[in-house]
Amino acid sequence: MAFDYEQYLRPGKLPHIWCPGCGHGIVMKGLLRAIDRCGLQKNNTAIVSGTGCASRLPGYVDFNTLHTAHGRAVAFATGIKMARPEMDVLVVGGDGDGIAIGGNHFIHACRRNIDMTYVLMNNYIYGMTGGQFSPCTPTGDRTSTTPYGNPDPIFDVAKLAIGAGATFVARTTAFHATQIDKLITAGLRHKGMAVIEVLDDCPTTFGRRNKFRSVVEMMKRLKDIAVPVQTAGQMSPEQLQGKILTGILHQEHKPEYCDQYQQVIARAQTAAKS
């Protein structure tokens, strides 16, 4: 049976702002399927974003939703989760939002291993502001502020999250639509900081400057560069050149931050009694 997306969409809020061919809508669908699969309750779920095209997602979905300032989503979400640990807290947003201006909050949320699920839509560009390069724009590519080719090296979001201490890190692409909801589902079920990076595309501001003739061509590239982490082991470094690994890249179990703070409360209360 076809999945009923409408049960989670706010009536009257569509059409969305996303351009035809934008990958963010595909991610939203995967997110809703995962939420459904995990049985999250609308009133008990908060979805938080920063600013950017990707960050517009919360406005369309029927939960407690918080569209914050550029880069600050995880820090707002941390406040929600710490004040109400029983809530399910998700963060969604773009690469610029999460990794450039919000990078500091991002790494520290990973380090704390606070129980939330962060879906990062990496279209490797600042879409909303018209296509300036982000920390995820490939070196050499053209954007509105790298007219001679991007001199910057990129951040590998997944490696950054693992290095910073996130205990669940996964990656897929907008082409692999069914994998999106599987990975988000696994992230939601994981206790601790779960980061799911979804590589998607901005045909409007990136595609046209980098000689992608169509959205289909951009999608095809996503398909071609993805290598499931299980098969990567059998490939040579040359074969892996220019590829990205997809699937669950890292999972471990470490103390979760809200639980840790419950212990602080217990210790403080014991000390106060004695």
């Binding site: 939703t65 300032a69 820090a75 004040a83 029983e86 809530m87 602080v264 210790r267």
Partner: protein
């Protein structure tokens, strides 16, 4: 029964005031001279089941308290100079999204790193206009440790009543000085809790002006579910760029203050009945000004003190009335002329207004004020 007394630093009194008011969430980042506030909160909040979190910077701290406040918590942060500058964008967010919270700014010399351990009152205008865009502001500048306690309680009450950020301005001197204070018992001071919506969940709108200028704010995680954005929004909380809706919402937000000035504004008056010279001073420096009034009176000069406790909104009606009878107004402040601008504006200079500015990290002394008054008379 005798009240419990304690010898408390201003910063500590501020933290205990917050706890008295029912604060259950503190998100902070250490900075001199405000750090003792965070330290007390880290000790006391877990005892009452509340949350203390030290974030990665002041922006994160500000974001965390806004997130917590949306779940219904009374939320609080403390900072100074550079940290206050960092918080500005999200103070604007709290204004437009109408999220209650309290920020104490223990002012130090600036700009930039300035003088971390030197007192200052140079964030008066920042407290009014620090974030971009038109927005309402409430800022309170208590003087003694006792008043820091009670005004912190009031700051939480105002934040919850008017659904907005409220700033408390201390400075390095009254933040760090110790005074004996009487600790209020529960019930001694009024504590205001957030108004809850009564409509059916499906009818709830977080900015429903049909409910008055201050619509009730539901908590995330309750039976109400809604959207919050930093974009200009309509009554239902969703973004709009319809000129008439944007205009109405912006004006409503300012009206929260303008229509309730008499409930928010607070000032103290000392020997003003027949005063010809009015000293206007706030926070720490009001203490020097008070003793200057006594000195001047002894020398036969009819001086009095007008002490605004809310700097924003500035008690402008009372100030204007007093100015009518004055020969001169003298405004000592530990900056190079900030509140004086507001005094000149509201009194329309019906009498001469002179400032005493000091930014060398030393307080303005009574002698300095006396000398200035004699010079201008």
């Amino acid at each position: 029964m005798a009240k419990k007394v304690a010898l408390l630093q201003g910063n500590e009194a501020c933290a205990y005031g917050a706890l008295y008011a029912g604060c259950s969430f503190f998100g902070g980042y250490p900075i001199t001279p405000s750090t003792e506030v965070a330290e007390v909160m880290s000790v006391e909040l877990p005892k009452v089941g509340g949350t203390f979190i030290q974030m990665e910077d002041e922006i994160g701290a500000m974001a965390s308290i806004l997130g917590a406040a949306l779940t219904g918590a009374k939320a609080f942060t403390a900072t100074s100079g550079p940290g206050m500058s960092l918080k500005q964008e999200l103070i604007g967010y709290a204004c437009i999204a109408e999220i209650p919270c309290v920020i104490v700014n223990v002012m130090r010399g600036g700009p930039s790193t300035g003088m971390p351990t030197g007192p200052s009152q140079s964030d008066v205008m920042q407290a009014r206009w620090g974030t971009h865009g038109d927005h309402p502001a409430i800022a309170i500048a208590p003087s003694s440790c006792q008043e820091i306690f009670s005004e912190t309680v009031r700051a939480f009450n105002l934040a919850e009543t008017y659904r907005m950020p409220v700033q408390i301005l201390l400075d390095e001197i009254n933040g760090h000085m110790r005074e004996r204070i009487e600790l209020p018992e529960p019930g001694d001071l009024e504590v205001v809790n957030r108004q809850q919506p009564t409509v059916a969940p499906e009818d709830y709108k977080p900015y429903d002006h049909a409910q008055g200028d201050i619509p009730p704010l539901a908590s995330f995680g309750s039976e109400y579910r809604y959207h919050v954005t930093g974009l200009n929004k309509a009554a239902d909380g969703f973004p709009t760029s319809k000129p008439e809706l944007v205009d109405a919402e912006e004006r409503r937000q300012l009206r929260k203050i303008e229509a309730n000035r008499s409930l928010i504004e607070k000032n103290e008056e000392y020997r003003l009945e027949d005063a010809e010279v009015i000293l206007v001073a706030y926070g720490t420096i009001s203490r020097s000004a008070r003793s200057a009034v006594d000195h001047l009176r002894k020398d036969g000069i009819k001086a009095g003190l007008f002490r605004p406790i809310t700097l924003w909104p500035f008690p402008e009606k009372r100030m204007t009335d007093l100015a009518e009878q004055a020969r001169a107004i003298v405004v000592p402040e530990m900056n190079l002329g900030q509140l004086i601008l507001e005094i000149e504006r509201v009194t329309r200079r019906v009498c001469p207004v002179a400032g005493i500015g000091r930014v060398d990290g030393e307080p303005i002394t009574p002698a300095q004020i006396v000398a200035k008054v004699k010079e201008i008379l």
